[in-house]
């Protein structure tokens, strides 16, 4: 039997050429900042300044400015931490796992997604420091040689595992991202007109010369880093989930947490990628690179992971009943019907019900629907962490200690700080670095660039050389 696969639509539409790719991506870096960018950056920077002031006040006065209490020792701080770490996961998944699975469509979005990962992990890290009573001693959580009678860290503590997991994750993601940037930085270097640009981009492009050997090394290294990153996609959130799973608190003490957290992380990460890409696509006019196909593929992943998360929620409830443990049963009944019922149902609606709308092709190929639902998914995932942390803690074993958590202005402002930080960094990235991986995108438009246009615009404008002579000295 002979099977002919359907003709695939090109991943980059409108017959873009190599030169178009370079031109479309580089013009954002080389041109003056657009109005939209300036407005967005100003807002982000203002939020960051306000947030920084609030974070400084939090550190100056003590964590009492938050709404935490003797019963609820973590609330927004760790909710935000887990949320940001989770968001980061999509970037790594796109760049590493999809690379290994040869999902070529990832090339248009992996750069921005990886940048998102790094900034999200930075935001998450700020909450690690922020939530400490004495952040100036944070380095004690590292196994450093010391003179305190050589006092070591507690390797049994999931927080120490977190330290390793997050720092490894951040390092690998940063290296992966930066290495992927090198060929593109070289492109910008080569096109740069000002001395400063040439110097800076030149320095960061590490002497890239575009030789076959360089490219070969680049490919090897991408594969190796993808190989290293892949387990991290699974391990980081597994370890984060162990902060809860290894504890004794009903609602935390759950073996389902690792897969459930990983799925949730990818779920929220893709939603965030959608949000960012949909904006970049419009603002930077990259509709031909980030096509509806991309959007649809990511929506499918969102629906899949959202469904996994939904099954996990229901499984938790089932196990709470099936185990017969009264504390566990109560914890889950309390989630659904207790004082924080609204948080639980916000989570269920946003995370389980809303992604199911993507079963409809109209909705999953609609830019507006996608954007709105992605925002909803991220809200839902924030509530998931809030529900797990606060609702479990506020009514645990001894009813005498049951308490409510009410956020204060500083809980909210310190969260805003992370948004300010994230968007400021992301906008700086969008302005000064190529948001689409030009080198890799070029690799997938080969077929469609068979017919070269007569002339091109931009820096390389002019008549196309009909018979280019590369390697003139070869003969």
């Amino acid at each position: 039997m002979h099977i002919t696969s359907a003709v695939r639509t090109p991943l980059v539409s409108n017959g873009k050429t190599y030169a178009d790719v370079t031109e479309d991506v580089c013009k954002q870096v080389e041109g003056r900042p657009t109005r939209e960018w300036t407005i967005a950056f100003t807002i982000s920077a203002l939020v960051l300044v306000y947030g920084t002031a609030c974070v400084f006040y939090t550190w100056w006065e003590g964590l009492g400015v938050w709404g935490l209490n003797k019963t609820v020792g973590w609330a927004w701080d760790i909710t935000n931490f887990v949320w940001w770490v989770g968001i980061g996961h999509a970037g790594t998944l796109i760049s590493a796992i999809l690379l290994l699975f040869r999902q070529k469509w990832r090339t248009s979005i992996n750069r921005a997604a990886e940048a998102m990962t790094i900034f999200a992990v930075i935001c998450a890290a700020t909450f690690i420091f922020m939530h400490m009573g004495r952040p100036w001693l944070a380095y004690w959580a590292l196994p450093l040689p010391n003179t305190f009678g050589s006092l070591w860290v507690n390797f049994k503590s999931p927080l120490v595992w977190d330290v390793f997991a997050i720092s490894t994750y951040f390092t690998v993601s940063l290296v992966f991202w930066y290495m992927g940037l090198v060929p593109d930085l070289a492109t910008i270097r080569d096109r740069a007109r000002s001395k400063v640009s040439r110097y800076v981009y030149g320095a960061f492009s590490l002497g890239w010369n575009g030789s076959a050997k360089t490219w070969a090394r680049y490919e090897y290294m991408s594969l190796i880093l993808a190989g290293i990153s892949t387990p991290l996609v699974l391990s980081v959130h597994t370890i984060v989930s162990m902060d809860f799973a290894t504890s004794v608190i009903p609602g935390w003490h759950t073996t389902i947490f690792p897969p459930y957290f990983v799925a949730g992380a990818i779920f929220s990460g893709f939603a965030m990628v959608q949000n960012l890409m949909l904006i970049i696509r419009v603002v930077f006019k990259l509709e031909d690179y980030i096509t509806v196909e991309h959007i649809e593929s990511m929506n499918k992943i969102i629906t899949l992971t959202g469904s996994i998360v939904g099954v996990a929620y229901i499984t938790e409830f089932f196990i709470a009943w099936y185990s017969g443990v009264e504390f566990e049963s109560y914890a889950f009944i309390n989630r659904g019907t207790g004082p924080y019922w609204w948080a639980y149902w916000a989570m269920m609606t946003c995370n389980v019900i809303s992604p199911q709308l993507f079963w409809s092709k109209t909705i999953r190929t609609s830019v507006v629907w996608t954007f709105v639902l992605s925002v909803i998914v991220n809200i839902g995932m924030w509530f998931e962490r809030f529900v797990i942390i606060v609702t479990s803690l506020h009514r645990d074993y001894l009813p005498s200690s049951w308490a409510m958590f009410h956020p204060t202005l500083f809980d909210i402002s310190d969260y805003l700080f992370s948004f300010g930080l994230f968007f400021t960094l992301f906008l700086l990235f969008a302005k000064f670095l190529p948001v689409v991986n030009m080198a890799e995108v070029k690799a997938i438009i080969k077929s469609s660039s068979a017919q070269l246009p007569k002339s091109v615009s931009g820096v390389a404008k002019g008549e196309r050389v009909t018979a280019p002579t590369f390697n003139k000295n070869a003969d």
Binding site: E61, M132, G133, R134, L159, F327, I333, Y397, S400
Partner: protein, 1037 residues
């Protein structure tokens, strides 16, 4: 040979050898001329080098001055006082005095400052126990808002001036026979009374008026009428099989709670802690509010204040009908369990006691008649050895106020008394006081009364005083100073002696009083000095002759007249009635400016930093108010606005308000906290009535959050947390009420602790543990304040308590029972119903502190090993290592870990004891004051364990059994907390656990296998039928 020694010149001057050179050759350094120096100083014509030198010096000086670090003065003893060793505590026996409340105590001092108060075990009254108030009184010593010296109006004067002016005025007044009045609360000190007598001898127109803010005048009057003895008898609850209390909070606030606690608890101890005893007293409580004593009762009924006399009369009738007394003619009243109480009283005739908190002499006469019928006067009530805690005479005080208003008083002195604040007629006194020629106060501050007098001659705190006390006839307790006077204060006794023209050495006065009056009673001493030193050492003197058996009292009261009085006064009402009550912590308000007292949660309501209008749920619904909404309560033209606290167990259609709050001139800690409820009290028939039957209560429309340390009322049917049963079943099965969960495995059901991943820790030497008997814990909270005092726990204030951040390491969880029928309701509805407390709940107190888990969940999660396990079973907290992730607090199943949200010391926001130099004197130097951002929790008083072990080591021995005591165990007045080494078979804890581990002892949350070092003994109520065991799940699949 050639000359090889070369000649060098120092300069051309030497070579030239001119006259100036020769003149100066001898001086090594050339002296600058005067004018040069001058030029240097004023900077004119200064040489370049000198300019730079000056500049350099100036810079250095300026920067040195700028860098000067604050010098913390730590002055070592130049000459070490004999017998005092730095870092080693000295202990002095003394006596706590606060109004009529007294307790024999041991004061721990360190480098000359008292840092802890403990009970004196040699006292046969308190038997080593303390109350929250006794523990907290230490901090009042270091109150920096007290007067620093005598004052005339607003002017500071010295004592000589004060004495001169006061003596001259007193003499003038006495010469013309003008009335001089000394107004005080109960004085139980024989020497002080002698001083007052001396003063009266000098100024014959002087008289001593005694009143108590929470008066027992009615009891004294009734005993005068019934037995011809104007006294408050002593009660021995240990002999009682049936205890009926009608409105008397005898374990919390009534007369001598500390003296009642241990004998009462003795009748409640069963099993190993009760010496194998399987019998308990049965305690009935009838009351309006849910008092702490009521919370301990086996059966409890409620009545409105307008029914109080009728309840007593009806109970009397029921008993009299069986025991042959004369019935009285009163209208019947229906109160739950009243018939049952009567039946039990009759059955336990000769071992019964009825007490009443009423201040109405008619009611007390009937109570006396009732007790007389029951034969209590030859067993449980001893009129031969009366107590001196309450000697106030309401009639006398009333007469005094009338006199004062009539302008017939020319000099008045207030000692341990603040009637403007704490008397129902306080406003009248305030109006009349400025008109008095000579008014003075011995109060420690310009309080509500003190601020209206002409002279303030402040008396020091009792820890700075010499004194003696006779709390019970023939039982003496000495007060010796534990610190020299902090301010320029003078004891009231010295002042009166001075003004009486005698030597003001009160120490010598007490000594000579004891020589004359007490030494003759002592046996076994050759000289007085021997006796005196022994008395000072012991703190108490209780001659054998003082113990007189009860008996010989024949009731001669007029029951009929009393019942007529009752019928006239107690009539049914339809409106809402107000009941005033004293709080276990706050008392009458005399210690209101004490942060420990303010932050001490009420044992029943768990509220602090406020008083409030407590109403039952039904009344709240009727009034259309919810918790924290304000009510306006108006009684005879005086009104207060207070937030509502829904109090299960309170009589419907009543509002209960605590006295002791609403101070206006006590200090920054007390002023404006709550509302003053004393004006709502009234004087009826000559005695003060702490109730108002004709109150107008309405919703005020405001809101005021009440700070509570516990907001969830019920235990949610969690038998893993609280295990309780009833005596009838306990007698058959000592495991009554135990909950022993099983986990099903492939090999059958096993106990959860059999399945474990833990390797366990070895405890080769000691294994410190605790047993807490829920049956004898009365919830008084002495342990809570004892722990605060021992462990430097910061006070955080109302706002922080509202934010649920109180720092107490030791807390007492209070659970109400629920009427919910969980099984028939389904989980969601069932849990919701379990949250609602019964209208008249059973109450359980459960002291909760770090359980020192052997498999501690907090230890595994700390990233930096700040909390670790010791080889002695302690869960240790290393503050210095803590980075404040709070993971341990989250993972603690008992929620006993506390986080330092702010810098609680040296911060203006927390203006309590840690924010001023005097307040800091209370800090226990053995315990670290915790920094901001670290976790803290109960350490099992590791500093005491360490000290005890070191003492034993120095003496080359093992620590004795029970030698080392935690602060909570030591403070406990009922010995409900047993602390000790579980590895030592001789220790009490080992002995108790050896039997109870298979009977009453349980670990809270046993099924999560954290293996606490603390075991609780089941709460057993003396009931015939218990409530069905509320439970949500029996076994685990």
């Amino acid at each position: 040979m050639e000359q090889v020694t070369k000649r060098y010149w120092k300069g051309v001057e030497e070579l030239r050898n001119d006259a100036t050179y020769v003149k100066n050759a001898q001086s090594e350094f050339a002296e600058p001329s005067g004018s040069d120096l001058q030029s240097l100083i004023d900077g004119t014509n200064a040489p370049r080098r000198d300019f730079l030198k000056t500049l350099g010096f100036g810079m250095a000086a300026v920067s040195l001055a700028a860098c000067e670090a604050p010098v913390r003065k730590a002055i070592p003893y130049l000459n070490k006082p004999e017998g005092t060793f730095p870092t080693i505590s000295d202990y002095y026996a003394s006596t706590f005095t606060d109004g009529g409340d007294h307790a024999s105590i041991i004061v721990e001092t360190r480098e000359g400052r008292p840092i802890k108060i403990e009970g004196n075990p040699l006292s046969s009254l308190s038997r080593g126990g303390t109350t929250a108030r006794v523990q907290a009184s230490l901090l009042s010593l270091y109150d920096n808002e007290k007067l620093k010296g005598p004052k005339r109006g607003e002017t500071d004067i010295d004592w000589a001036t004060a004495d001169k002016e006061i003596i001259s005025q007193l003499s003038t007044i006495a010469a013309r026979g003008g009335a001089i009045r000394i107004v005080s609360s109960t004085i139980a000190s024989p020497s002080t009374k002698a001083v007052i007598a001396d003063f009266v001898a000098k100024y014959p127109s002087a008289r001593h008026i005694v009143y108590d803010a929470n008066s027992a005048s009615g009891i004294i009057q009734a005993n005068q009428a019934s037995f011809g003895k104007a006294v408050v008898p002593s009660y021995d609850f240990s002999k009682a099989k049936t205890i009926v209390s009608i409105g008397a909070d005898f374990l919390g606030t009534w007369v001598a709670p500390l003296d009642h606690a241990k004998p009462y608890a003795k009748t409640r101890k069963i099993g190993a802690v009760g010496g194998g005893n399987k019998e308990m007293s049965r305690h009935y409580q009838f009351e309006t509010i849910l008092s702490m004593t009521g919370a301990n009762a086996d059966y409890r009924g409620t009545y409105k204040p307008s029914q109080e006399g009728l309840v007593v009369a009806n109970l009397y009738n029921k008993v009299a009908a069986k025991l042959g007394g004369t019935a009285v003619n009163v209208s019947p009243v229906t109160v739950q369990y009243l018939d049952k109480a009567a039946a039990d009283l009759i059955a336990s005739r000769g071992a019964a006691v009825v007490v009443s908190g009423s201040n109405d002499p008619n009611v007390q006469i009937l109570v006396n008649a009732l007790n007389s019928l029951l034969g209590s006067y030859s067993s449980t009530i001893n009129l031969n050895v009366p107590v001196n805690y309450r000697q106030g005479n309401d009639q006398q005080m009333n007469a005094f106020i009338d006199e004062l208003k009539g302008g017939r008083v020319q000099a008045v002195m207030f000692y341990m008394a603040n009637p403007v604040y704490d008397h129902p007629r306080g406003a009248e006194i305030a109006d009349a006081l400025p008109k008095v020629g000579l008014s003075l106060s011995f109060g420690d501050r310009a309080d509500e009364t003190g601020s209206l007098v002409k002279y303030m001659t402040p008396a020091p705190h009792f820890l700075e005083c010499w004194n003696d006390t006779e709390p019970k006839a023939g039982f003496y307790s000495l007060t010796q100073p534990a610190i020299t006077h902090i301010f320029k204060t003078r004891q009231m006794q010295s002042s009166l002696l001075t003004w009486a023209g005698k030597s003001n050495d009160f120490q010598e006065y007490v000594r000579s009083y004891w020589r004359t009056n007490l030494f003759p009673k002592a046996t076994g001493f050759t000289t007085f000095d021997e006796f005196w030193i022994k008395s000072l050492h012991d703190g108490v003197f209780e001659p054998a002759s003082a113990t007189v058996a009860a008996g010989g009292a024949t009731f001669a009261g007029n029951v009929a007249a009393a019942s007529t009085g009752i019928s006239q006064r107690y009539k049914p009402t339809t409106g809402i009635e107000v009941a005033l009550y004293e709080k276990v912590g706050m008392g009458t308000g005399s210690q209101a400016n004490n942060p420990w007292i303010q932050e001490f949660p009420d044992p029943v309501s768990k509220a602090c930093w406020d008083n409030y209008a407590a109403v039952s749920q039904k009344t709240a619904t009727d009034l259309g108010v919810e918790q924290n909404e304000t009510l306006k309560i108006e009684v005879a033209g005086k009104s207060v606005e207070l937030p509502v606290l829904v109090q299960p167990g309170q009589a419907d259609q009543t509002v209960a308000i605590a006295i002791g709050y609403g101070r206006s001139k006590s200090g920054k800690c007390a002023n404006g906290v709550g509302q003053n409820a004393y004006p709502l009290a009234s004087v009826i028939g000559g005695t003060v009535s702490m109730a108002a039957v004709n109150a107008a209560v309405s919703k005020a429309g405001g809101r005021h959050e009440i700070a509570q340390t516990q907001t969830h009322e019920t235990v949610m049917g969690r038998r893993a947390v609280l295990q309780e049963g009833i005596l009838a079943r306990y007698k058959k099965n000592p495991k009554e009420g135990r909950y022993e969960p099983k986990v099903e495995t492939s090999e059958g059901a096993v106990t959860p602790t059999d399945i474990t991943l833990w390797h366990g820790y070895g405890k080769p030497n000691h294994s410190w543990g605790m047993v807490i008997d829920l049956n004898s814990c009365i919830g008084c909270g002495a342990c809570v304040v004892g722990c605060i005092s021992e462990n430097n726990t910061p006070t955080v204030g109302r706002d922080e308590v509202l934010a649920r951040r109180e720092m107490h390491w030791m807390r007492i969880d209070r659970y109400y029972s629920s009427d919910a029928d969980f099984e028939s309701m389904g989980a969601i509805e069932g849990y919701r119903a379990l949250e609602v407390a019964s209208a008249n709940p059973e109450v359980t107190f459960q002291p909760m502190l770090c359980q020192h888990c052997s498999n501690a969940p907090c230890e595994t999660v700390c990233p930096v090993l700040a909390t670790t396990h010791s080889t002695e079973g302690l869960n240790q907290m290393t503050y210095n290592r803590c980075i404040g992730t709070r993971y341990c607090a989250n993972n603690c199943p008992y929620k006993v870990r506390r986080f330092n949200w702010f810098k609680y010391h040296d911060e203006d926001k927390f203006d309590y004891q840690f924010n001023n130099d005097l307040g800091k004197m209370v800090i226990n130097p053995d315990v670290t004051v915790r920094a901001r951002g670290v976790i803290e929790k109960c350490s099992f008083c590791v500093q005491r364990i360490q000290e005890g072990k070191l003492t034993a080591k120095k003496e080359r021995r093992r620590p004795l059994p029970d030698e080392i005591q935690s602060a909570c165990a030591q403070a406990c007045p009922t010995d409900a907390i047993i602390f000790g080494d579980m590895n030592n078979p001789e220790s009490t804890i080992s002995k108790v656990l050896s039997t109870e581990l298979n009977e009453r002892a349980f670990h809270v949350l046993e099924e999560i296998n954290v293996r606490p070092q603390i075991a609780y003994l089941t709460k057993i109520r003396n009931k015939e039928e218990g409530p069905k065991q509320e439970t949500t799940q029996e076994t685990h699949a």
